[in-house]
């Protein structure tokens, strides 16, 4: 198996062990993952290669303050191709003071099932 070319190498980030995974295509054209030490390794690698998901963070101005910003992130990861559409939605936000840490600013952004949440408290 190891004589097949390596498609990608990535380090799993799910736990501090940090297994170094190697991904190849087997004879059937399926993904083959090597180097994992637990059963989370394969789905992690497959997802990252076929359907990568990302979280994202930015900040938006808070209305009712003197140019204060509130940092925001997503409650969960979204498909990578949704990064810029989601950022565009977030760019429209002008939340009103006060904003609490954890407050949902956009629910289910663009139908992803993921919320945009404030990550600090601005009063």
């Amino acid at each position: 198996m190891s004589d097949r070319p390596v498609l990608d190498r990535l380090t799993c980030v799910l736990c501090p062990v940090g297994c170094e995974l190697e991904v190849r295509k087997d004879e059937a054209g399926e993904l083959d993952v090597q180097g994992y030490q637990c059963d989370k390794g394969v789905p992690f690698a497959v997802e990252e290669i076929l359907h990568p998901k990302r979280n994202l963070a930015t900040s938006v101005p808070v209305r009712g303050t003197e140019a204060k910003m509130v940092s925001v992130r997503l409650s969960d990861r979204v498909p990578r191709e949704m990064i810029f559409p989601v950022l565009a939605e977030i760019a429209k936000l002008r939340p009103e003071v006060p904003v609490r840490r954890g407050q949902v600013l956009i629910t289910d952004v663009l139908g992803t099932g993921v919320d945009v949440i404030a990550t600090r408290t601005v009063v």
Binding site: E20, L56, M69, S71, I83
Partner: protein, 414 residues
């Protein structure tokens, strides 16, 4: 002027290490704890780190910098810890008298014990001696992060980033999010300094090229950056003539290293290590000045904020004990860095202490490596740990269970 005010423990700096130190001191029984932070809010550098990746070890989940900070701040506020923001410690004597300047007043404060948690600053263009003009548009990555995340400012339209440390990688992505073109990240070493995850999610995701063994050899532009000249470097990290290329851009971000900010420590007479840039400390995080402790980035540069906090908790606790009158007894042994190890911390340990965990960094990437802690005199192996791979960018740990009775060396062998 007299010092009319005394506290058991004064913590200087309210970032991930300082917040934890204040809590650690309080939880270990210190009566009067003062936390002094020069910015308007607590949180330190965390306030501008809007991305996630924090809290994996402290909170078992990954959250953003501001959230991590707020959770610690909530804990601090619940305790009777006196917090002063917008207050800067300008000077500290070996007798632990502090000069504190704040909008609310300037005064002298006496401390039973002091915890230094001032964090770090960034290496500058001038320190790496990039020739060329001095136009607007050259920023260190941390400065740029502040201006973008906290002040909503567009720092340019086309950027080049020098240095593949995490701050540079994170800022590459941040700029792309804001519609600023990032033309490339240039790294002088032959490996990326930042986490592989960040190389993936900040550069590869957006098609930003990462050029290793490269550096910026000239900045051009009279009023504003107009271009940079990049070149390949040889094994001695010197530019290779003829390998130059000009990249038009209006912004250069520098992510070329962090330096512990020990100016205040020097005033107190604290001995510093040339390997870490921070204080020489023992297993309680006490420096060469009695009653002065150090933790976090001011002690040595961390890549994970959680570890800075764990150090803070420990240093705060030690400070509280010191303020209550506890003094270590016994000889002190030294720990040195052996082959392939850049540094090991703490550098000193009190004789008879068991279960001490050492932090260390390797000097270059290593594979299939065994880390050993050996006695300098006896050559006895006191601890052994195997790693599949070790990178200089990862701070690692090794624990010695037995009581230390001699000088030690931490070394790595492939």
């Amino acid at each position: 002027m007299e010092a009319n005010e005394t506290h058991d423990v004064v913590v200087i700096g309210g970032g991930p290490a300082g917040l934890a130190a204040a809590l650690g001191a309080r939880r270990a029984g210190a009566g009067k704890v003062l936390l002094v932070e020069r910015d308007r809010t607590l949180g330190g550098i965390l306030n501008q780190c809007v991305h996630d990746g924090f809290g994996l070890f402290l909170y078992n989940e990954t959250i953003s910098g501001p959230e991590y900070a707020e959770r610690l701040i909530d804990d601090v506020v619940r305790e009777p810890i006196k917090v002063e923001t917008g207050a800067m410690v300008l000077d500290i004597t070996p007798e632990r008298v502090l000069r504190v300047n704040a909008r609310s007043g300037y005064r002298l404060v006496r401390a039973g014990a002091v915890v230094l948690a001032m964090g770090c600053r960034e290496r500058t263009r001038e320190m790496i001696e990039i020739p060329g003009t001095r136009p607007a548009g050259v920023f260190t990555a941390g400065s740029a992060q502040n201006l973008v995340n906290l002040q909503n400012l567009r720092i340019g339209n086309e950027a080049v980033i020098l240095g593949s440390g995490d701050i540079g990688l994170i800022m590459a992505r941040r700029l792309v999010f804001e519609g600023v073109a990032v033309k490339g990240v240039f790294e002088i070493l032959s490996w990326a300094s930042g986490l592989e995850r960040n190389v993936r999610q900040c550069l590869m995701d957006f098609g930003i090229p990462l050029e290793l063994r490269s550096t910026v050899v000239e900045i051009r532009g009279r009023d504003r950056v107009e271009s940079v000249v990049v070149a390949k470097v040889d094994d001695k990290l010197m530019p290779i003539p003829g390998s130059e290329g000009v990249i038009p851009c209006d912004t250069l971000l520098l992510s070329v290293g962090l330096i512990p900010e020990n100016e205040l420590s020097k005033r107190a007479g604290v001995a510093l290590s040339p390997f870490t840039g921070g204080a020489v400390v023992d297993e309680r995080f006490m420096t060469s000045v009695s009653g002065v402790f150090s933790c976090g980035n001011v002690l040595h540069i961390h890549d994970v904020a959680d570890w800075a906090s764990f150090e803070g908790f420990a240093a705060g606790e030690s400070a509280a004990r010191y303020a209550a009158g506890e003094r270590p007894a016994g000889a002190t042994f030294r720990i040195t860095a052996g082959p392939n190890v850049k540094y090991a911390l703490p550098q000193l340990v009190t004789a008879g202490t068991a279960g001490v965990e050492w932090n260390f960094r390797v000097g270059r990437p290593l594979r299939n490596v065994q880390v050993v802690v050996t006695g300098k005199a006896t050559e006895k192996v006191h601890a052994r740990k195997k790693f599949g791979r070790l990178l200089p960018t990862e701070l690692q740990k090794i624990k010695v269970r037995s009581a230390v009775e001699e000088d030690l060396e931490v070394s790595c062998h492939e």
